[in-house]
């Protein structure tokens, strides 16, 4: 859904860049804190790490906000440049792509060294650590990537409509997910809540993007015409116009099929 449109690819890479910058700044802070403290004090180091994680989460959300601001400006620019006065890409699509950008970068940074090591020889958990290390890392990364995507949608929607509680909810969710990983290797404590939060975020984002339970049902039941089902899922209903066109429930976004 992203690779087809060059504008989306650019937004994706820029999103990844913003996440990277936030990570950089937060690790700078952590590094300074660590260097200024006693390296032999284990609990202190762990405490500093936890502090680093929390700070990083907050910084990520701050950068998400900054990215939102940048994309707002970009949309105005695109509208000014386009021929028919509307931007080639909507803020919702940008929200989705930005979320994916954040998620991909976060996932890549979490997983890729692990994957590289997994190619080499070794035994998992030989020193008494959990043997499920790779598996749980994979699942956790996956849930985080999805979450970032949904958070992107929620966050931008909240910023658009000035619903601060939505933004606060995203931040709290992020903190909760990161916090739940503190009980690793007790994986129940981290994976289960994260997946539940992901389900909540998924439905919320879906509803915000114009979907509804009706659409899901129609999508699942209407197996004969998958295209129709997809339009249903996307929140469009058949309009009365000739030529098989669809409008969204709110009246905007018309798609013409066939024609």
């Amino acid at each position: 859904t992203i690779a087809r449109d060059p504008l989306r690819i650019i937004i994706l890479i820029a999103g990844a860049f913003f996440w990277l910058v936030s990570l950089l700044l937060s690790s700078l802070i952590w590094f300074i804190a660590v260097k200024a403290s006693d390296p032999n004090d284990e609990p202190l180091q762990k405490g500093l790490l936890i502090f680093g994680v929390m700070f990083s989460v907050l910084l990520q959300e701050a950068f998400r906000f900054l990215y939102y601001k940048l994309l707002r400006k970009a949309i105005e620019g695109l509208v000014a440049l386009s021929e028919d006065g509307c931007s080639p890409i909507s803020i919702q699509q940008m929200a989705y792509v930005a979320g994916v950008g954040f998620g991909l970068m976060s996932g890549a940074f979490s997983m890729i060294n692990l994957l590289a090591d997994a190619l080499g020889p070794g035994t998992v958990g030989i020193y008494g650590d959990s043997q499920l290390y790779f598996l749980t890392s994979a699942f956790m990364t996956m849930v985080l990537i999805f979450l970032h995507t949904f958070w992107g949608i929620l966050f931008f929607h909240g910023c658009e409509n000035r619903r601060w509680w939505e933004i606060a909810a995203v931040v709290v969710m992020h903190l909760a997910v990161s916090g739940s990983t503190f009980c690793n290797p007790l994986y129940v404590g981290s994976l289960v809540p994260s997946y539940m939060l992901m389900a909540i975020a998924a439905t919320w984002a879906y509803l915000l993007s114009g979907g509804s339970a009706q659409n899901v049902r129609r999508f699942l039941l209407c197996k004969s015409c998958s295209v129709t089902g997809t339009w249903y899922l996307a929140g469009l209903v058949p309009s009365g116009l000739p030529g098989r066109s669809w409008v969204s429930a709110g009246g905007h976004r018309v798609v013409s099929v066939g024609g």
């Binding site: 060059p6 504008l7 690819i9 650019i10 890479i13 820029a14 990844a16 860049f17 990277l20 990570l23 950089l24 937060s26 690790s27 700078l28 952590w30 590094f31 660590v34 180091q45 762990k46 790490l49 936890i50 680093g52 994680v53 990083s56 989460v57 990520q60 440049l81 386009s82 021929e83 970068m105 976060s106 890549a108 940074f109 979490s110 890729i112 060294n113 692990l114 590289a116 290390y133 749980t136 890392s137 956790m140 990364t141 985080l144 997910v177 990161s178 990983t181 503190f182 690793n184 290797p185």
Partner: protein
């Protein structure tokens, strides 16, 4: 909308180094040129050849002013597509370099240094090492400056044959010799047995097709592929033979030099650009990656779609294409990039039937315009030197970073964002811009930051399995 687009050829700075055999290897550094971006620009009035398209002169004048405003919209509108057309080859080059570095250990083994970096970095003290690397970088940069000035002088005095010969020799060496070494090392890594006869056949074919594609005519994709491959080979040579600190210093200094050489009025590269613009030529195809071919476009009187000028670059043209803007082509955005690909296949076959009546008269022109000297490009050009240095940065990051893949990924994203920003600036300023400074700065910053700051953090997080 009638669009007069004239090609302002942009030039790259050639870094040329002679072939000095040293005790390990004879290294020839190819002419890797710097990049100038070319955006499709309109030529104002100074080119009389613009009338070859058949448009009456007064029409052109009227249209010029109208085009002024629309041109800006167009360039920015097509901006995203241009960016992606440069993202893809840069990414491919980097991927090839990183893949090679990770798998073939030859390129990370220290086997001596180039003759251009005579001072060793295996010294006792840090100060000595710093001094040596500064001296190495200084020598390398002065070699590059001398070569650039030589190239500009040769170009100014129209010694085209010398430049051609130079380019041909370097690309010969690159295509045959370096790829032979590369192939040999890859076979060694994967323990593949290969006899010399097969190897000779493969290298011969690869090299000859490469020479033809790059210096003469060939399919666009093949030419692009070859340019990417030789950039990757060159970057691998640099990664192997440049010691650590020297490499980073060279990257930093080269981006400063690029900035200076392109933007200062007396800079050699700027002079090169201007000379080529005056002479209305395009620059050597062996040194620039272009995202689109030079293609023939026909002008029509009233065409709602973008109309382009018919032009051809006789010397360096790969393929002269007859490209008709199709009315029904809803994606004018493609600006002929994909379209001209299709046109490549049916270039002279059936132009007539797809064009509306109003252009029928203009179609008679192509035979004349074949000899026209106006190249028209609607694509972006990036110099091979930029490819090479981007890949050197990412390759070095993957070879010698403690953060390994994290650092590589960070540098990759940084370079792409730098490229994006540079293209944005190009769209705004519409003249030749150096591609190196922004990307290399971002890349260097991210490399050192990720390697020293982020890596310990991520390590600790991964150890405890915390997720941020």
């Amino acid at each position: 909308m009638t669009e007069l687009s004239a090609h302002l050829p942009q030039f790259q700075h050639g870094q040329l180094t002679e072939n000095f055999p040293d005790n390990h290897l004879s290294n020839t550094n190819d002419n890797s040129e710097r990049r100038r971006h070319d955006n499709s620009e309109r030529r104002r009035n100074d080119n009389p050849e613009s009338e070859i398209n058949g448009q009456p002169q007064n029409n052109i004048q009227q249209v010029v002013e109208q085009d002024e405003e629309e041109d800006e919209e167009l360039t920015l509108k097509y901006g995203a597509k241009h960016v992606i057309m440069l993202f893809v080859p840069v990414t491919l080059c980097m991927v090839v370099v990183v893949a090679t570095i990770k798998s073939v250990s030859f390129y990370t083994r220290k086997d001596g240094q180039l003759i251009y970096t005579p001072f060793t970095e295996e010294t006792e003290t840090v100060g000595q090492r710093a001094l040596n690397s500064i001296l190495n970088a200084a020598i390398m940069i002065s070699v590059i400056i001398v070569m650039t000035i030589l190239l500009v002088v040769l170009y100014k005095y129209r010694c085209y044959k010398v430049i051609h010969g130079w380019l041909i020799i370097s690309s010969l060496l690159l295509l045959f010799f370096f790829s032979f070494i590369y192939l040999g090392e890859v076979f060694k890594t994967y323990n593949v047995a290969m006899d010399y006869i097969t190897l000779a056949l493969m290298i011969w074919n690869f090299g000859v097709v490469g020479m033809i594609c790059i210096h003469w005519k060939g399919p666009l994709r093949l030419q692009q592929a070859y340019l990417i491959m030789i950039s990757a080979l060159m970057a691998l040579v640099f990664i192997k033979y440049l010691p650590e600190w020297t490499a980073w210093l060279i990257l930093a200094v080269i981006s400063v030099y690029d900035l200076v050489a392109v933007l200062c009025p007396k800079g050699p590269l700027r002079m090169l650009v201007e000379t080529a613009q005056e002479r209305n030529e395009t620059l050597f195809p062996a040194l620039i990656y272009s995202s689109t071919m030079v293609w023939l476009v026909n002008m029509a009187e009233e065409d709602p779609e973008a109309q382009r000028k018919a032009s051809k670059n006789s010397t360096y043209d790969k393929q002269a294409l007859a490209n008709q803007a199709q009315n029904e082509d809803a994606e004018a955005d493609d600006g002929g990039f994909s379209r001209e690909w299709q046109q490549q296949r049916d270039s002279r076959i059936g132009p007539i039937e797809s064009t509306p009546e109003s252009r029928a008269a203009v179609q008679a022109l192509p035979s004349n315009s074949q000899t026209s000297e106006d190249p028209e490009e609607r694509g972006v050009k990036l110099g091979l030197g930029d490819f090479i240095f981007y890949s050197v940065l990412v390759g070095k990051a993957s070879a010698t970073a403690s953060g390994d893949w994290n650092t590589t990924l960070a540098c990759f994203v940084a370079i792409l964002i730098g490229l994006c920003l540079t293209l944005l600036l190009l769209a705004i300023f519409k003249k030749a811009l150096p591609a190196l400074p922004i990307s290399i700065t971002f890349g260097l910053v991210f490399y050192f930051a990720t390697d020293n700051l982020v890596q310990p953090f991520m390590d600790q997080l991964a150890f405890h399995q915390f997720y941020i």
